[in-house]
Amino acid sequence: MKQTIGLCIILLIAIALTLGIGVRDVTLMDMLQAFIAFDPTNPVHVVIHSVRTPRLVAALVAGAGLGMAGTVIQSLTRNPLADPGILGVNSGAAFAVVVGALLTGRSDSGWMSAMAFPGAALAAISVFMLGGGARGQAGPVRLALAGTALNALLLSLVSAIVLARNETLEIFRFWVTGSLAQADVRPLAGMSVTAAIGAALALLLAPRIEALSLGSALARGLGTKPARIQFGALLAVTLMTGSAVAVAGPIAFLGLLVPPLARRVAGHALRRELLASAVIGASILLYADTAGRLILAPSEIRVGIMTALIGAPMFIFIARRLRPGAST
Amino acid sequence: MTATALKTELLTLGYRDRIVIQDLTLELPDGKVTSILGPNGCGKSTLLKAMARLIQPLSGHVSLAGEEILKIETRALARRLAILPQASKAPEGITVADLVKRGRTPWRGLLAPWSEADAEACERALREVGLADLAERAVDELSGGQRQRAWIALVLAQDTPYLLLDEPTTWLDLTHQLEVLSLLRERNRAHGTTVVTVLHDLNLAARFSDHLVLLGRDGLVETGAPEKVLTEANLEKAFGLKALVIPDPVTGTPMVVPR
């Protein structure tokens, strides 16, 4: 209980910081008023409405989605190094966007975000399959290397296409490292709903996934159908990561950072872990974003770089702690 | 009493905080076949490694023919003493001949070409282990017994007066065990090579060795000729095993029959 309240407070502070800090500093009073009594002539209210709230919503969708997706994948594969980013979601999205833009000639943000979705999903599923996930053998080394390989391949193709088409580097950079800037142009409403459906599915399946994580033989003994649960869980992961990528671009390592923290807070009950993951994921992303805006102000460090800078050491830390003989 | 080949004095061995062997003083005879015996975890392999300077003792020292082993230059030592560790894994696709050639390393200068003497030593080693016909085959393609003999050929090609082997017969069936041990004894009889092995099988050890070292969980139990070492009292002390010791009907060496 105490931990729940603690988490909520941490998240609320993060939200306040996101709304409050920027070129124009905003007070708590302004925030409240902007939501209760919106005044379109007040520039502060306009900023909150049209710039910072979309940014906040994007961060909430992406953070909660990636956090929960990470927890689902890690329980499913029993692999503490599994992460949607490592699964190739980043590069899959980037690839789909660039190819989509190339084929249709459209480069508006809404269209590109929509393209990111199937790209992310396809990449995640391919890496999962290539890494032996379907056979229940998605060991840390395999998954990480399969992801690295697919990432390298897709990113090479992306840069080839981008350089060949002389598209602006800016588009490319967004789809290589995620950012929450200009979130207002991304399809927030649709993606929020999609992510919510994914989250609901994950919560629904949680007890089954727990059974499956004991090994498929035992799971069968407990009366579950492993293939069906795996499919459902992957679908949930895809819905959540896909919408995260669509609103915030590829954010690496969040799915790696969140699960161990969630487990520490929530213990070994997957539903509680998932809820904690959502809150922790959103908080980390908001703090990382705020830090990225402050460190080199007025220029901004993309939040995707920030999470990678925190996440990569975490990856090493976890890799070091893997027990010898644990499934590789 | 023959001359002493390897000698340990108050040797204490261990890994970090775990002491495996404490204050062991031991002399192994020159020009003989010696086997080190004992239950799992008594430090047989550790002792062998210390004698080959693969691990540093925590205290005490090992000497080779009267010279302290830590003071011998690395390459000079490799020309006098060869060690075959347990269960080595061959590089993928390497041929038997290429594997054996690497045993000549201590004899070759940095830029020295492959010499007549090197080739001869390798051929001799391959003949001794009976692999001369298979020299060009890849090690991975060989049977377990042949593979082990290829590794033994490598240390034979090293051409040293002292030869240490850690469980050279593990994973082999009985026929191959006999084969490997007889070829080691032939080497000993023909060249006077001092052979020291770690073995599991007490009866084979008694058959093929001139000298035995029996270790128990609390250190040395007995050392000496097989008849002296393999007694019912010693076995009880080393292994906690109640056994009958009778003469081997074929060779007359002691044979252990668990009760």
Binding site: P140, T148, A164, I305, R320 | -
Partner: protein, 325 residues
Amino acid sequence: MRGGLVLIGLLLASVLLSLMIGQVMLSPVQLWTGLMTGTGPASLTLRVLRGPGIATAAGVGAVLGVSGTIFQILLRNPLAAPDIMGFMSGAGLAVICGIAFGLSLPLPLLAAVGGLLAAVAVAMLSYRRDAAQAGLTLILVGLGIGFFTSAASSFLLTRLSPQDASDAQRWLSGSLAARNWGHVTQVFGLAAILFVITALQVRALALLELGDDLATGLGTRIRRARYGLIATGVLLAAAGVAVAGPVPFVALMAGPLGMKITGARQPGGRLFSAAVTGAIVTVLADLAARSVVPGLQLPVGVMTGILGAPYLLWLLAREMEAGDL
């Protein structure tokens, strides 16, 4: 022996092909006249347009191939390569640091320092008391260092002006555009020195391949030999990175590919075939990068990425079949 000649033939053929193909197509005869007379369009192509780039590609490929093979033999793992284990992105990060903070040190020095630091970091962070699975830990930690150095490079790019950032981005993906004979001299000079050093260590490498205990028994000072080889491998990779940026997957692919062609099993032969194969792969990748999209030179790293990633996936599938991972 025959395999070696085949490889060298392939290298010459790829160089020739690469010289011929481009915006202006040249015949071998034109190239020959250009080379002999020193005049005409072919001469310009040889001296300025294509020659230096192709020679740099060959040099870079050779050093990377040897570097990868040293690690693959030393760690007895086909996945052990400076690109997978983060040494090359470490070298890349050091160069980006140099640019971002305006250090005026020579690139090879920066790259070497970065590569060595990354190697030290990987070695220290993957050290664990229980030796079990040390190889896997090493590769995972290496991947992690790679992730971190790439993130740090992206971070530093934010500090640069848009033009510098775009140049640096290009360099980071491995580029051979606008290389001159200075680059060629640099990479071949370093390669010559480092290959001699490698040759002196081949015998130690052959022994370490047999396992530490046996190597010690055969008179090797294993610690010294291993550090020497690691340093050589990292410096070779850094020599490549310094002229072409962190070109991915050449170091990973060259050794096994060369071994397939020549059938070499001994370290010496493997290193030689890796050098030549690395050169072939890089020259061909550079050719593809120049000619896939007419009028545009893609970074060579893009092409090696497209070639190398499927190889890595195949390798994973194979290791999985064998149950080694």
